[in-house]
Amino acid sequence: MELIFIISILIISSLINILFKKRIFIECVSVISVFTTLVLSTVVAIKVANFGFYNPFPFFYIDALGAIMILLVSFIGFFTVVYSIQYLRKETAKNIIGFTRTKQYLILLSLFLTAMFLAISASNPIFVWISIEATTLSTAFLISFYNKPSSTEAAWKYLIINSVGLLLGFFGTLLYFTAIHQVGGAVSWHLLLENASNLDPLLAKIAFVFVLIGYGTKVGFVPMHTWKPDAYSKAPAPIGALLSGALLPIAFVIILKFKTITDVVVGPLFSQHLLIAFGLLSISVAALIMFNSKNYKRLLAYSSIENAGIMALGFGFGGLAIFAAILHMIYHSCVKAILFFTSGNLLLKYSSDKIDNVVGALKILPTTSIFFILGFLIVTGTPPFGIFFTKMSILSVGIKFYPIISFVALFFMVIVFIGFFKHVSSMFFGEKPEEIKTGEESIWLFISPLALIITVFILSFYIPPFLNTLINNTVLLY
């Protein structure tokens, strides 16, 4: 029942936002709805940890990895809404947007969250595809939110690339359906897995390639990543947090679901090698571009591409690296939300997303700057934070079986650190410009990043037993 409630609450919240015109009311409704989804998602995750799966109706099926994703979406979603409310108020005060835009934003955000919940909980691969397509449609309007030529351009690029990508993913999905002799009824993930042995091995390989390209477009693997820097930089900052922290891992998990089916037919090496190839390519290309990045939101987008590559390497290497890759996914979602929220604070203060235009931020926005620098240290894998251990665990597994690939990946990870550090030092240190007033915009703008930093810090040293169970069960499943 919990999932029905989650989806109903979000849809009702959208409807209320459409019907009512009192700002404080729709803000409260949005916060309450996402808080309720967070509580209910935690209940679902605990149930999955205890019973192994959650299957209240035939339409829904959540396994251990699905439970982690549900938790991640609701967690990042909650903090995104909390942050967004103050962020949008500030933008309204600066006459960047009006109240109608705020309403549209909150409606689209609820629909985006609903689509993500459906994508991760649907038991039918076609409904998963429909849900992912629905995320494209809701986020396209969020990317073009500011109604400027550049944001329309980014949204158009996003729409075309992702639609084509997802149609390829749809094609791959239907190729898996050839394993089932009678496709009249609903085809679930389980049915596909049970009938996987009927699949022609060559067809399974082709199908996985299409799925990997299709959903990999949504993940942002190189070379299907081109929409990502544009979309992340033009969308409102909190939407970047959701795109990177929630949508990316969901698309990744869908690829993994198809991987398990493909592995039954052709063995694990085929999909692992493909994941390693896409992973390494994503890390190296992102690292090289990040070094010369001129825009800090685009920098974060390339950082997401790099981290998607690291996750792909983890699942490609297999074994213990899978455990590390799942943890990496969790840490990355939290830290990317921190970075996007703080980048939103910088944007509000400096009115520019160009790295060159942001100087002396540590003196102007001390709290935001400390959070951003902490986020940078966490995301680049500086000890003692969790991402350091996940990167090391993935590479230590890789060195045994793929030493050259692991060293190349390590080299580019170092490049990422140097490039990111170069930009961070130019933005946060140095003399502050006289024309910009010192001081944070509002305490509400750093409550969300603070909560997420505390979460990452705690999770770096302590994983709650139910989460540990979920991760262990995921390693067994994938």
Binding site: W156, S163, L167, V187
Partner: protein, 215 residues
């Protein structure tokens, strides 16, 4: 319907795509798309007659309503309202475009894709042709500079995908049919909204005028 008639209808879809590649006028592009969608509806209706699936009939009616009537009406209104008589040109010139079309068709019929085209061995030729239509649609999206052509490219890709689904014998899945309905309905709405937005902000549907985003 005999396989020869089906092949003929599929060839019409193929030819409309070739025409979409070489056409210079936007109104012609829309007409080619109408014919293509109508041909798809005929193929799908034939499948309905064979199987009797009521949801399949809904898909046929929806294709007729949305792809054959509503979307072209909108495109024509957009063309008239903004005086977009001529479509924006292609990245590659005509001879080179035709060479690539031939190459892609050849690839679709090659042994490389036998696992795909032999899903139902008796439909081997139809599946090969459907695959070549898919490749041509993808190439159309990449090669055209106009937003309208890109939208029609994506919609043609959708059509080719549905054609492949039918000849691969997968159209019976209720999930697939709902997926198709969802895609047809929602994508057209969103794409047309964006086409209007692009014209308002750039004064043209030429996507090469979009150059605000750089690293």
């Amino acid at each position: 319907m005999s396989i020869l008639i089906l092949q003929f209808v599929l060839e019409i879809i193929f030819l409309t795509l070739v025409f979409l590649h070489i056409s210079k006028k936007n109104s012609e592009v829309v007409w080619a798309y109408i014919i293509q969608s109508l041909a798809l509806a005929i193929i799908l209706f034939n499948s309905y007659l064979d199987t009797g699936g009521i949801l399949l009939l809904v898909v046929v009616l929806l294709i007729l309503l949305v792809k054959v009537i509503l979307a072209p009406l909108f495109f024509n209104r957009l063309i008239k309202k903004n005086s977009l008589a001529f479509s924006v040109s292609t990245y590659l010139n005509m001879p080179f475009t035709l060479i690539i079309i031939s190459f892609l068709t050849f690839i679709a019929y090659s042994n490389k894709f036998t696992p795909l085209t032999n899903i139902i061995p008796s439909n081997h030729m139809l599946l090969s042709l459907s695959l070549s239509v898919m490749f041509l649609s993808l190439f159309l999206i990449i090669n055209r500079k106009g937003a309208l052509s890109q939208i029609i490219g994506v919609l043609s890709f959708e059509n080719s995908l549905i054609t492949f689904i039918i000849f691969a014998g997968l159209e019976q899945s209720a999930g697939l049919q709902i997926g198709i309905i969802f895609d047809i309905f929602v994508w057209i709405i969103i794409a047309t909204v964006f086409a209007t937005m692009i014209y308002k902000q750039f004064g043209s549907l030429n996507v090469t005028t979009m150059n605000n985003l750089k690293d």
